[in-house]
């Protein structure tokens, strides 16, 4: 049993409990015991001095690729968890596109076991919608749910077969599992490698039209509305997509959505020079889309900021642009990029925190995301004034594929606390035991 911990002198921002002010936070037995203006001393308690800092519910990332099993050269569950806690995340959701694919309880339990051994943060597991992510037959969704999967998704691929998806929507309701959707009509994206527009035309790179995403969002909202499924749209990138989700939510469709820091920060200008670190799927779009994503983050259309942390090494990235792998890492840069939106007046502090905590917790029904009494003792302490420069060589992730190399940002994680234990402090991981 971990000893009690008191976080003193910080500003607690806990949107779910409408707290935003100087508070002490007391953890006992891995739970929040008390949030008060002046907590009494406790014999034997550890103290975290949070003066000048924000004390947030532990950040939750709904969308990470930890690459284990199968691609341990790019990331392992241990290195991914280190990157997570260094970036302030106390919980992540691991995508099923590993090798073997997580379409069976065996793989789910393997990931859970490796995460327990890492002992750094909560790793929730997403199972596959279809066997082998092939989009042909349903995976054993009930067995995946029994093994503890928190959602199902074929992320990395769309489910092109609408009939299969409709059955999965209906079937997943029996297990109260949200269905996370990577929206891309493969007949529209075809051989495309970046968003359609003048830059793709100039660079001679084959274009991915927005309709590849937007038409699938439209299709799946229609199926979700009809079936009453809980759907979650991964990494929305287009103005048209957020417009559809906004309208559907107003009508009461049970949908949630996420956006990534790269999609709300960058445009396809980042691809200039054929920078493969700016190649991902969905691709970076243009300014009107970035603006729309930002508005959707602010107005509640989008519920969560998720990283789509996708580690790749030089073998997959130091190559011709059209041959390069899709994806960027994001765990160690998401928080300061979200805070950029606060600094720019796009989001209030509270809204930014919501998008990283209670928003994702609600979307998948995960514990935490707030600091009410009895909540998990997961906290992220942030120095909101710390200026730093993003340096991939300093990442805890095994991979370096970020388009934010060299960017000046403000706001740095000073402590990450999971289950009442400090797991990241002073720029260092505090390994388990």
């Amino acid at each position: 049993m971990v000893k009690p911990l008191i976080i003193r002198g910080g500003r607690v921002i806990d949107p779910h409990n409408r707290v935003n002010g100087p508070r002490d936070v007391v953890f006992k037995d891995g739970r929040v015991a008390e949030v008060s203006e002046k907590a009494p001393a406790i014999e034997g308690a550890a103290i975290v001095d949070a003066r000048g800092c924000w004390v947030l519910p532990g950040l939750i990332d709904l969308h990470v690729h930890l690459r284990e099993p199968g691609d341990e050269g790019k990331e392992t569950i241990l290195t991914g968890c280190r990157a997570a806690v260094a970036g302030g995340f106390t919980a992540v959701v691991a995508m099923p596109n590993t090798r073997p694919i997580n379409d069976s309880p065996l793989v789910t339990r393997y990931v859970q076991g490796r995460a327990r051994e890492a002992g750094l943060c909560d790793v929730f597991v997403a199972g596959a919608i279809s066997k082998g992510l092939k989009g042909e037959e349903m995976a054993e969704i009930g067995e995946l749910a029994s093994a503890g999967c928190k959602c199902i998704t074929d992320d990395g691929f769309p489910v092109m077969n609408a009939g299969l998806l409709r059955r999965a929507f209906l079937y997943a309701r029996a297990f109260s599992l949200p269905v996370m959707l990577h929206e891309e009509d493969l007949t529209l994206s075809a051989r495309g490698v970046m968003t359609e527009g003048h830059r793709a035309t100039r660079l001679g790179l084959m274009p991915i039209p927005r309709s590849a995403e937007v038409s699938m969002v439209a299709r799946d909202l229609a199926i979700a509305e009809e079936t009453g499924a809980r759907v979650h749209f991964a990494h929305l990138s287009c103005e048209g997509s957020v417009r559809l989700v906004r309208e559907a939510k107003r009508r009461g469709v049970s949908a949630t959505a996420e956006a990534t820091p790269h999609h709300f920060t960058l445009t396809d200008a980042a691809v200039e020079g054929y920078d493969t670190n700016a190649k991902m799927n969905p691709p970076l779009r243009q300014m009107e889309d970035v603006k729309a994503i930002r508005e959707a983050l602010a107005d509640g259309t989008i519920d969560a900021i998720a990283t789509d942390h996708a580690p790749h090494g030089p073998l997959d990235k130091e190559v011709e642009f059209d041959k390069a792998a899709n994806g960027v890492i994001g765990l160690e840069t998401a928080l300061p990029l979200a805070l950029e939106l606060v600094q720019q007046g796009v989001l209030s502090k509270e809204r930014a925190v919501e998008l990283l905590t209670i928003g994702p917790a609600r979307a998948f029904g995960l514990p935490g995301g707030h600091l009410g009494a009895g909540a998990p003792a997961n906290v992220t302490v942030v120095d909101p004034d710390a200026k730093w420069i993003i340096d991939p060589m300093a990442f805890f992730s095994k991979s370096r594929n970020t388009p934010f190399h060299g960017r000046s940002v403000i706001g740095k994680v000073s402590h990450t606390i999971v289950g009442g234990r400090v797991v990241f402090e002073g720029g260092q991981i505090v390994e388990n035991g």
């Binding site: 075809a190 359609e196 527009g197 003048h198 793709a200 035309t201 100039r202 660079l203 001679g204 790179l205 084959m206 274009p207 020079g273 054929y274 130091e318 190559v319 011709e320 642009f321 059209d322 041959k323």
Partner: protein, 307 residues
Amino acid sequence: MSAPRATRNPHLLGIEGLDRSFIEALFELAREHKRAVASGTPRTPLAGRAVANLFFEDSTRTRTSFEIAAKTMGAEVLNWTVAGSSVSKGESLLDTAKNVDAIGPGAIIIRHSSSGAALLVSRYVRCSVINAGDGAHEHPSQALLDAFTLQDRFGTLEGKRVLIAGDILHSRVARSNIYCLRLLGAEVLVSGPPTLIPRDIEMLGCKVAPSFRSAVEMADAVMMLRLQAERQLDQAFPSAREYAAHWGLTGALAQQMKDGAVVLHPGPVNRGVELSPEVADGVRSTILDQVANGVAIRMAILETFAW
């Protein structure tokens, strides 16, 4: 005259970013080489040097043209082709390029199916990189020889209207030509099946012609692009027959062209598809001039970049 100094770096990766005076100096140098070769006394500024042809895609015209240009100027030519080389054994582009660079050529002349391949290689080698075509991006030597041919024919490109027709989406020739012709003062129109006209192509400095036929009738020069067989597999248009009927330059249509207007083609021609045989071989055709000028332009390019 001496070779124009490369303004940005020792690589020729594209026309975009070059300036007009640099192109005009290259043309002057090409003219000088052409005269010297014609008089039987070619200059040999590359004597004792080597250049490497690194072609990852099939090419006869461009590779041979560079080879003759280099040899005429006294250089050794290393031909590193895909078949029978380490490339077919799974070696990466960068590994291959670094190995060729280590052999010590003054320049690598590279053709590759990926847009950006020449730029990528240029970041990892010590020698100059000359882009002989990267994916759908640029093919600078082709655009230079096309513009050179037109300037030869017309005296100037200022105010001339050039139509580029066909598969603009996948064409590096089109992109390089749009930049080059615009720099030299021409107006550029593009035309083709809407499935093969990329979005916002106007932002490169051209206009999309409302009708292929009327654009042909108004143009001083019509550049017909090669239709690649793969495009039909993409179903960008229903059939070669229909393509030829709507976007092919037939003898009848060529008769509607302005007096003195010319027809270009980067080759190889699909006779009867984008260009009918009587036009390819007719008086308006500059196809063989283009090939001949290609050697002179590539001599100027190599003298400028392969040191």
